[in-house]
Amino acid sequence: MAASVKFRVYRYRPEDGGKGFYREYEVPVKKGMTILDGLLYIKESLDPTLSIRYSCRMAICGSCGMRVNGIETLACHTQISELRRRVITVEPMKNFPVIKDLVTDMAVLFKKQRALLTWLIRRDLVEQENPTHQYIQSDEELERYLQFTYCIQCGLCYSACPVVSTFPDFYGPQPLMKMYRYFADSRDEGGKERIDLVDKFEGVWRCHFAGSCSMVCPKGVDPALAIQLLRRASLRG
């Protein structure tokens, strides 16, 4: 394996405005080094002006989502050696406004998520505050939505979705998936309300099952499946 790789990093300075540009860095590679380690090496030794967002370095926080060689991954979750490339192109995520370099503004994702009622809806508020008994779920009821709770809101699926990038009003895979997580929950009582919310031109119908969202998800969540199931519920009224 090569002793060093070339990082082509997207740089964008908001004070300059206009389009971003690519700058190249030569990074020595050690065994087990991730893309994030490479970027941190650049920041420490080569170019301190590089901006990245990261936190946990172990694919839990979902901060370091970016596009590496044309596909969305978490930088901390991808080793340089597994790419098998001499040149590694690192770009910020698509479909989000870029704040600086590799840092994107993900407010739109959270805004859409909030608009889709991504919380448990209970009709009886008194009972909700002072429960009189336990609300037990069976294993099957848990499995119905458990997978979708693994989402870390990194925004990779939103960036990979071809429909979001061509039709920005589309709700996006992550918010719809999150909505399905609560829709499928046996404790949730928002069924009809939720279906009416997604049964719009901008809603589930703009998904064409391109599967890019499930392809890039670092946590094995399957947003494409969730959207199809939400659509099935919507089709059945």
Binding site: G211, S214, V221, A224, R232, L235
Partner: protein, 162 residues
């Protein structure tokens, strides 16, 4: 939004729609379904107009001495003599077959069939919705479409030889 900005947005959209990149099989099905849909729709419009021209439907646009209609008929016949249209018909056969079978696959997927049930995510396993049955339908659509294309081209070659 300015005009040039608008154009660049549309170009960007086209690029996203037409280039599947590294996003896998389902993305290719999305791209192909889109292309085939648009091309077949354009073919359909052309087909309605062209059959209308043959049959004298063009007279709706003509004054009663119908010289315009006859001219349109002659011109349509002359235009369609081009062998490019024959090859185009074979390609339309490919696209129609693909769009049909892949469309059935998409309808099934939209109703939640052939996708598998949600389960706990396992490391290094593909997502549930990339199920074998669903992908088999995609490959079936591709192979039937290729078969249709080859069949049409074979007939075409026989026509050209005679």
């Amino acid at each position: 939004m300015s005009r040039s900005e608008y154009r660049s947005t549309v170009l960007q959209s086209l690029k996203t729609m037409l280039i599947a990149g590294k996003y896998g099989l389902e993305r290719w099905s999305y791209v192909l379904q889109r292309i085939s849909g648009v091309v077949v729709a354009l073919y359909f419009i052309a087909h309605v107009l062209e059959t209308g021209n043959f049959i004298g439907g063009i007279t709706v646009w003509s004054v009663p001495d119908y010289s315009f209609a006859e001219k349109a008929y002659e011109e349509t016949v002359k235009l369609l003599k081009n062998p490019l249209f024959d090859v185009g018909l074979a390609v339309v056969g490919f696209l129609v077959t693909f769009h049909t079978i892949n469309g059935i696959r998409l309808i099934l997927a939209h109703f939640g069939f052939f996708l598998g049930k949600p389960r706990r995510p396992e490391p290094f396993e593909p997502p549930v919705s990339f199920s074998t049955r669903q992908r088999a339908l995609f490959w079936l659509s591709i192979s039937l479409a290729v078969f249709a294309l080859l069949y049409a081209l074979d007939s075409l070659m026989r026509v050209f030889r005679t």
